[in-house]
């Protein structure tokens, strides 16, 4: 049978963002997939030429609308390494708390969208209802719901008071309870399993070789998580990456679900250990040199390459986001799958196209 060429996206009911794939199919089986990017390319890296290194924090936050806090954290960490700044302990803990809140809301967002991808609308609503609680936590503590703008070079801009901490822990307890109620639906339901188990298998070797990142990598059995390096306060927390070995869509769902629960636990640990003290140190001097800074985002590791030459403006800001790394594995997964499974496979890498293209 002759091949049919089918454009998938950029506008597709299942896609939250404009990913475009050209699929060559043969009798409903995908044979080949070619990506096309560029629908939301904004050239944010170029802005480094006209915004100084402090203003860039608020620009890199806008690279991604979901994991904004981690982008700023990664960027600030890089600048701090260049300046040789030691971030106060309380600030490191607060950064961790906000990062983990972001992880919860991002994973809940994904779990909802994923449920929607195989047509489970009510589950989508349930996950997003829980997510709303976390969004409220972010708004109360940081002032904004998504783009928190809490990081600055040398520390953080806001504190979390004791009453807020109490309220956060109570809300998280509620969220955890509700999340566990949904566990059997997303992980044990027969129809859900039929759509996910054994679909889009990425072997351990392939995942490593193709440079997959984050849950996509860990679901294939590679225990690599940037949080193991112990940036921010992770070195003082009890943390072990969540790994699944099957490498299929189901394994990736399990990893994300468990990471959401783990993030709740990490926030609890943070509040148990957080010391009192300064929020920020004053930066001295200007960034000079080159640095590679990496942080674990909900979708995987993000890499910042910063190059400063002792001026207010950085010479180069280069951002490699996790979805960029996860596109080659996706292209490897697609050949051989049913056309009907393509949306599910695409969603399991948690594509964030606006951050891929920046």
């Amino acid at each position: 049978m002759a091949k049919t060429v089918l454009p998938f996206g950029p506008q597709h009911p299942v896609l939250p963002e404009p990913l475009h794939l050209t699929l060559a199919i043969e009798d409903e089986i995908v044979k080949e997939a070619i990506p096309k990017l560029g629908y939301v390319h904004r050239g944010l890296e170029k802005l480094a030429e006209i915004r100084d290194h402090n203003q860039m924090i608020y620009i890199v936050e806008r690279v991604c609308g979901i994991c904004s806090c981690m982008h700023a954290l990664c960027y600030c960490q890089g600048i701090e390494a260049l300046m040789g700044l030691e971030v106060p302990e309380r600030a490191r803990y607060l950064r961790t708390i906000w990062s983990e809140m972001h992880r919860i809301h991002s994973h809940l967002l994904w779990l909802g969208l994923f449920a929607d991808a195989f047509g489970f609308e009510s589950l989508f609503m349930q996950f997003w209802r829980i997510r709303e609680r976390v969004m409220d936590l972010q708004e109360e503590t940081a002032g904004n719901r998504v783009i928190l703008s809490v990081n600055q070079v040398g520390g953080v801009r806001r504190d979390i008071t004791a009453e807020s901490a109490q309220w956060i822990l109570e809300t998280l307890k509620l969220a955890e309870k509700e999340l566990l109620q949904l566990k059997s639906t997303i992980l044990d339901d027969t129809t859900v399993k039929l759509r996910t188990v054994g679909k889009g298998v990425l072997t351990k070797e392939k995942a490593y070789e193709l440079g997959a990142a984050g849950p996509t990598l860990r679901a294939s059995g590679v225990a690599q998580d940037m949080r193991q390096t112990g940036y921010a306060a992770y070195s003082e927390l009890d943390f072990a990456p969540i790994v699944e070995t099957d490498g299929d869509c189901y394994a990736r769902t399990v990893v994300r679900f468990k990471e959401a629960l783990q993030a709740i636990d990490l926030i609890r640990q943070c509040f148990a250990k957080i010391p009192q003290g300064e929020l920020s140190v004053k930066p001295k001097g200007l960034p000079t040199g080159e640095v590679v800074s990496r942080v674990e985002q909900p979708r995987g590791e993000v890499l910042y390459y910063l190059r400063g030459s002792g001026k207010k403006f950085l010479e180069r800001v280069r951002i490699r986001t996790p979805t960029f790394a996860n596109i080659p594995p996706l292209l490897d997964m697609l050949p051989g799958c049913d056309l009907a499974d393509v949306p599910v496979l695409i969603l399991t890498i948690d594509p964030c196209i606006s951050c891929t293209e920046r």
Binding site: I34, P35, K36, L37, G38, H41, G43, E45, K46, C74, Q77, G78, E80, A81, L82, Y208, E209, L210, G211, Q224, M226, Q228, T229, G230, Y231, S235, G289, E290, V291, V292, S293, R294, V295, E301, L303, Y305, R307, E315, R316, R318, R320, F324, A325, I327, P328, P329, E357
Partner: protein, 127 residues
């Protein structure tokens, strides 16, 4: 403890010549390194391309200085996932990668009417 923000120093970065990239990256692959990504920056006369690899969370870089507008071998034969980022650098900096399996001809992000690379201001060659 491994740092997650690593200042690029001689310790973790090897300076190599443009014709060595493929052999050097193959050597790293044989050691079990994972390809992370590539970065680039404009220098006075050349474009500095950094290849980032990692193994057990530790980062290792290769630095190549490519004269502006000249050619360099694509490492997509070694690490197939490098094709996306090579396309990106080709489009933004005008570094010509030889033998990218999926070559967007400088039109991955940009439209056809874009005549100059946005970062390193030189004309784009379209085949």
């Amino acid at each position: 403890m491994i740092d997650s923000a690593v200042v690029v120093t001689e310790e973790n970065t090897a300076e190599i010549r443009p014709d060595e990239v493929i052999t050097q990256s193959r050597a790293l692959k044989d050691e079990g390194f994972r390809f992370v990504t590539m970065s680039s920056a404009e220098l006075a006369e050349s474009v500095c391309v950094l290849y980032h690899f990692d193994k057990d969370l530790e980062i290792r870089n290769l630095r190549v200085d490519v004269p502006k507008g000249s050619k360099i071998g694509s490492i997509a034969t070694v690490y197939s996932c490098a094709f996306l980022v090579e396309n990106e650098i080709k489009e933004h900096f005008g570094v010509d990668f030889d033998g990218i399996p999926l070559d967007f001809q400088g039109m991955m992000y940009n439209d056809e009417e874009v005549q100059r690379t946005p970062f390193c201001n030189i004309g784009i060659k379209r085949v």
